[in-house]
């Protein structure tokens, strides 16, 4: 389970900016609860609070996972439309670093990154995206509905706003159970146009529920604004309902980690829900019908070789890619060597190559099993 989460839970004070880096890879202890291992025992653990190297590697894992999903979509045209988390890694990894294993997620369909960051098996995740028997959901969910209860995921709703309402329920359940855990829902800014969001925010506020509303504000849906609210700012909505709002630069992992720390402390302290708004610049490939790499396959050496940044979307890579920015920050402030960054990347790629192999080898579910598992 998440070591950092435990440390955070115990309230241990770790000096800010101090680098915690424990060896080449955070090897996970063998997990029980009957989980499968697709890629051996070496997994990448969820990042611990203030483990900036761990957060960077988690971001690399999230990015490389989605790049592999694109390759899968190129190789298997039936896989369907992808909603990739590319460009959101700084937000995702930094928020995850502030959570504990008991915290519960209700996510949207742009959620692959969160599952993998929380320790879901990437082999089973790829298998699910390909509709295979060994998928996380046994092939019943597909790329829009990845679910991993063991990592704290209760559902992935592709009904816009669905996860926001359900997370209020998870918060209600946790409060009823007397748990110290919190519920998290992440969603895009466009989701706030749905009526259920306003209702859900209201319920969370009046019942003071332990819910983190994480709004990944990437501002656009295709060529139009994804949110068409008459409000001046997104935060006007939660604030009108007496919910504390925190706005951070979602491309800056350090800033998100600080905002998330503040938000989580507020919620866990029993002070009610928080609306954490992470502002991002949408990745140019987010709205695509064909699987393509509009910004190219990620080259981490661009973190220190900025002269080589080129192409139609050079501005996004240079100014808005939180992964490149965080690698650059850690190298420049002496936290990590360039070699170490590249080595971490190789470890991730090796893990994902094995995961892909596992998924490709997994069979489709038996059509004879169609009618099973509708009721618990």
């Amino acid at each position: 389970m998440c070591e950092g989460g435990r440390a955070h839970h115990r309230g241990e004070v770790v000096p800010r900016r101090m680098i915690h880096y424990n060896g080449p890879i955070n090897s996970r202890p063998r997990r029980t609860r009957g989980r499968r291992f697709s890629v051996g025992e070496r997994m990448i653990a969820p990042p611990a609070a203030q483990d900036r190297a761990g957060i960077l590697q988690c971001m690399i894992l999230m990015r490389r996972f989605e790049e592999e999903v694109l390759r899968i979509a190129q190789d298997h045209p039936y896989v369907g439309r992808q909603h990739l988390h590319i460009g959101h890694e700084a937000t995702g990894a930094a928020v995850v670093s502030r959570l504990t294993p008991d915290d519960l997620f209700h996510t949207t369909h742009r959620n692959h990154g969160y599952l993998i960051a929380r320790g879901a098996d990437p082999g089973r995740a790829f298998a699910e995206i390909m509709g295979r028997k060994d998928g996380l959901n046994g092939g019943r969910g597909g790329p829009w509905h990845l679910c991993d209860r063991a990592s704290g995921f209760l559902s992935t709703s592709a009904m816009v706003g669905g996860s926001v309402g359900l997370a209020v329920g998870a918060g209600f359940g946790l409060k009823t159970q007397g748990s110290n855990a919190i519920a998290i829902t992440h969603f895009g800014d466009g989701t706030l146009d749905e009526g259920i969001c306003l209702e859900a925010l209201n319920l969370a506020s009046i019942f003071s529920l332990p819910v983190l509303f994480l709004c990944e504000n990437n501002a656009k849906e295709g060529q139009r604004p994804s949110s068409m609210l008459a409000a001046k700012a997104l935060r006007d909505l939660p604030e009108a309902l007496q919910i504390r709002a925190i706005v951070v630069d979602g491309r800056d992992a350090d800033a998100v980690a600080e905002g998330a720390k503040d938000a989580v402390a507020h919620i866990r302290g029993g002070a009610g829900p928080v609306f954490l708004q992470a502002n991002l610049e949408r990745w140019p490939g987010s709205h695509q019908t064909k699987p393509e790499f509009p910004t190219g396959v990620t080259d981490l050496s661009l973190a220190w070789e900025e002269d080589r940044i080129e192409g139609n979307h050079a501005d996004w890579v240079r100014d808005h890619d939180g992964l490149r920015a965080f690698a650059k920050t850690l190298v420049e402030d002496g936290s990590l060597s360039r070699e170490r960054v590249l080595e971490m990347d190789r470890e991730v790629l090796e893990l994902l190559a094995k995961a892909r192999e596992f998924a490709e080898a997994s069979p489709y579910p038996d059509p004879g099993s169609l009618m099973t598992g509708v009721f618990a």
Binding site: L136, G141, S155, V168, G173, Q177, A376
Partner: protein, 323 residues
């Protein structure tokens, strides 16, 4: 065994569950509506009032709150009041509660009962008289119970509360004041088992919810005229006891389906299809359906009365089938 009102039996099931399971939580007050039986909720309110959350008028989010809490491991009972209001939460019921277990590959359970009152209620007009059962039955993953006796109300609600799958309890206000024998101790009535409310040999009347009371009344009137009708109460629509229903149709060779919902794609349509698929050779006459005609429910009492599938219409349908 004591004679009790349906309203008391319903509250007993909730009180038993609250007593046994300290984690059991309820959303929604006024579980017995606003009629003459409303006060029977006292035993629950006095002992477990702190377990009941009184939500704002936000059906979609309230349904979400119940579903999310159930997914997180809290056993839930969520009272909606009028079934018409659940249409504000269809997305949550159908696309979240109904699919969660299957779509997660069995990882997620939704131990939750949604309770609502359906049907014509005198003056409900076009927006407060909904009987949405066939609409919900058209979606997989949701159990649906419609008990019609005090004994079944207590036993089936208990079975639904103990189930790890989401259940719609589609109730009718007119049942709350009916009386019957109800065991004092907790017991379960298996979901998916129909009840033969009256045995007969000439014709099968398959009725649901309040229409069972009308069907029994009609059968008694028919008996006085020498017609021996069998009344079958499926009690739960999902799961549906097709064996008992088909066996009754095969026995009598005639079928009348009765319900308060609209006739188009109704529960009765499903029963009629079942007869066509599995008892065609035994049928001696065409199947008849007694249900609401396709008219928005009118307010004016004689107009509302005219669309009610009550005993008169059932008697007429039976006679036409036997003619």
């Amino acid at each position: 065994m004591t004679k009790k009102f349906y309203a008391q039996a319903l509250i007993e099931a909730l009180t038993d569950m609250a007593e046994e399971n300290p984690g059991f939580a309820l959303i929604g007050r006024g579980i017995l509506g606003h009629g003459g039986q409303a006060h029977f909720d006292k035993p629950l309110m006095e002992r477990f009032g702190d377990r009941i959350t009184d939500p704002p008028t936000s059906e979609g989010a309230v349904a979400s709150m119940a579903i999310g809490a159930a997914m997180a491991g809290t056993r839930m009972f969520c009272h909606f009041g009028t079934a018409s209001f659940t249409l504000e939460a269809v997305n949550q019921l159908v696309h979240e509660a109904g699919v969660a277990h299957s779509m997660s590959g069995g990882q997620i359970k939704v131990p939750l009962v949604f309770h609502m009152y359906h049907g014509l209620r005198r003056g409900g007009a076009g927006q407060h008289s909904s009987s949405p059962q066939s609409m919900y039955a058209n979606n997989p993953g949701l159990q649906m119970i419609m008990p019609t006796t005090p004994r079944d109300a207590k036993g089936m609600l208990r079975a639904a509360l103990k189930s790890d799958s989401p259940t719609l309890y589609i109730d009718h206000g007119a049942l709350l004041g009916t009386e019957g024998e109800v065991p004092d101790d907790p017991y379960e009535v298996l979901l998916g088992k129909a009840d033969i409310r009256r045995e007969g040999s000439d014709i099968s009347i398959v009725a649901t919810s309040r229409a069972v009371l009308w069907a029994v009344e009609a059968a008694e009137r028919l008996a006085a005229e020498g017609i021996d009708a069998e009344v079958v109460d499926p009690r739960s629509i999902v799961p549906l006891d097709t064996e008992t229903i088909v066996a009754s149709i095969r026995k009598t060779g005639r079928l009348v389906c009765v319900e308060e919902g609209y006739q188009m794609c109704s529960i009765g349509s499903e029963i009629a299809a079942l007869a066509a698929e599995r008892a065609m050779d035994a049928l001696k006459a065409p199947v008849a359906r007694v249900a609401r005609p396709p008219v928005p429910v009118p307010f004016s009492p004689p107009l509302e009365e005219a669309m009610m599938p009550g005993p008169d219409r059932i008697v007429a349908a039976v006679k036409a089938t036997l003619a």
